[in-house]
Amino acid sequence: MSATQERLAPPRAAGGYGPEPLLEIIPSPRPRGLVKFITSTDHKQIGLNYMVTAFAAFLVAGIMAELMRTQLIVPDNHFLVADTYNQLVTMHGTIMLFVFGGPFAFGLANYIVPLQIGAPDMAFPRFNNLSYWLYLGGFVVMMFGFLTNNGAADFGWFGYAPLTEAIHSPGPGADMWVVGIALTGFSGIFTAVNVITTVFTLRAPGMVMFRMPIFTWNQLVTMFLVLLAFPVLTAAMALLWCDRHLTTHFYAPSGGGQPILWQNLFWFFGHPEVYILALPYFGVVTEVISTMSKKPVFGYKGMVAATLSIGGLSMGVWAHHMYTTGAVLLPFFAALSLLIAVPTGIKFFNWIGTMWQGVITLSTSMLFCLGFLGLFLLGGITGVMLAEPPLDFQLHDTYFVIAHFHYVMIGATAFGAFAAIYYWFPKFTGRMLDERIGRISFAIIFIGVNLTFFPQHDLGLRGMQRRIFTYSSFEGWNFLNLLSSIGAYLIGIGTLFTVINLIMSVRQGRIAGDNPWDGQTLEWATSSPPPEHNFELLPPIRSERPLWDANHPDQLTEVGH
């Protein structure tokens, strides 16, 4: 059951830019249905597996959020008891980050990166399949915690020791959290190895590194970060497991351990993690804005440099999550954290430059990108505020931080994922999503996000702490919490519109064709969905937008490469 791909040397087509055919010599039997789901090593199938599972996880964690916001809609509410609330808050965060945000991006990487670089598949197809099973297994294991007596993990998604020690968090729910995260972590590491090897070794002829699309660059840098960060997380989790089961004392103070060791290890992973969750979606946004504006990416080299800077700097700022512990070198982390705003700003201006003097199609994916720009701008500004210790001493662990990270996470991760769905769904399925339903979905979600999280800035300034299951009526937090919860329900409704859109369009959407958006990169140079080894024909690659060059030879990039 092997397949190799041979590239023959046919006669050159007349006229310069004609594509040259590739031939598949050894066809292989194609499994269908459930067998295909389990055994296929095709990067496109595995990518879809990841994305569908991740989106389902997004809905599950979203429902958890709706329950939490219902508990907080009025003071002294008794909709949920404290324990249940703490489990929901922990699992909501854990699932959104470890099961939705990262894996959805890994799924996109799986599907799109080989196509964008002209490769027939990922470098290690069977290993890729294994990655998916470890991920799915991790998700299922951590959810099983809800069925145990002591419930699922309830100590917050960053699980500070000593709260996570066996005496403070007895029961298998916490262990399921540890194991679930370890499994999804291994899945991520294996995916990173796969993607990096694919990008380094399987590019099509002429696809030099500086001609790769920005999406592929962003995924590459993301995978560098995964390689650095996830092993540290796994090590931290292993030490925690030992403390819980083997009477070691890595974090337990009673035996000489250091609780703050957990925080250092965790955040050394945790900060690159949030860039792992953002960078791929920056890549999505770059692709969509460029295609929808009919322009090349403005400042391509600057974008690559900015992405590399963000990746590098993100490895040095971890303790800005620990300013209030009294145990970190404040100026070092403050300086680097402020510095990371600079390459992010460069990216913003490059996105604007891409739109500038373009012809902008306001498709749903473009609307989600515009939404991303607005949300991430505000989230980035509040991030600069939090990077400054004198302000962070006031704001840390309050709702201000919750507002900040939801603005950046929903802006980048969620809106990026929605933009990716609306942009690449035609490529995945061969059918278009309904644009009208998409616009309605965007509008409701955008209003909902702002209604939910903008008031939370003020709640934080007023002193409302994080992770409290209820609050008293005289604190002055009532009205803002009410607004916030109403907004949360709106987000749910808006998401439902997209879910309906997806279900309808898979069977009944308008047929898309190869390139419905006049896209510029190679994934649009093949059928929708692509054939088994991706390309029948590949155009010559002379820039980072080979398909645009082939389709519009009269409109190549000015002052080109």
Binding site: M1, S2, A3, T4, Q5, E6, R7, L8, A9, E20, L22, S28, P29, R30, K36, I38, T39, S40, T41, A119, P120, P125, R126, N128, N129, L130, Y132, W133, L134, G137, G138, V141, D175, V179, A182, L183, F186, F200, L202, R203, A204, P205, V208, M209, L228, V232, W241, N264, F268, M315, G316, W318, A319, L329, F332, L336, H533, P540, I541, H561
Partner: protein, 131 residues
């Protein structure tokens, strides 16, 4: 391979720089060790890529040449099996290994069966392609 090597080495050098500044300024053990290991990880990969580059004696692969034609990539690209049950087998083993960490040692037996069987099947499948 040269640019890829420079990319990884750049990451390693950057981490080394931060490690030195942080180590001397903060005198804090955890962060310094983590940055050091991070640097070592990237340098390890960079050295491997450098060896690959040297082995090619500096001849560019088609994907590193600005003027390459698609026909330059002619020939076998790699081994891309269309479907395989073995990753799922190993995956189930991995999941049971995780469950063993939660519920007890005897789950290692089940995990072991799946992992060993899966790895053997995986390897045999890879050899089968030689035919």
């Amino acid at each position: 391979m040269r640019f890829e090597y420079k990319l990884m080495m750049g990451a390693g050098v950057f981490l080394a720089t931060i490690c030195i500044i942080y180590g001397f300024w903060s005198q804090e053990a955890t962060g310094t060790v983590l940055l050091l290991f991070g640097c070592a990880a990237y340098v390890l990969v960079a050295v491997y890529l450098l060896m690959q580059w040297r082995r090619r004696q500096g001849v560019d692969r088609p994907e590193d040449r600005m003027d390459a034609e698609q026909s330059d990539g002619a020939g076998e690209v790699g081994f891309f099996p269309a479907a395989s049950i073995w990753p799922a087998a190993i995956g189930i083993g991995g999941i049971f290994a995780g469950v063993a960490l939660i519920y007890g040692t005897w789950y290692w037996v089940i995990a072991g069966v799946f992992i060993f069987g899966g790895v053997i099947g995986f390897t045999v499948e890879g050899e089968a392609r030689e035919e």
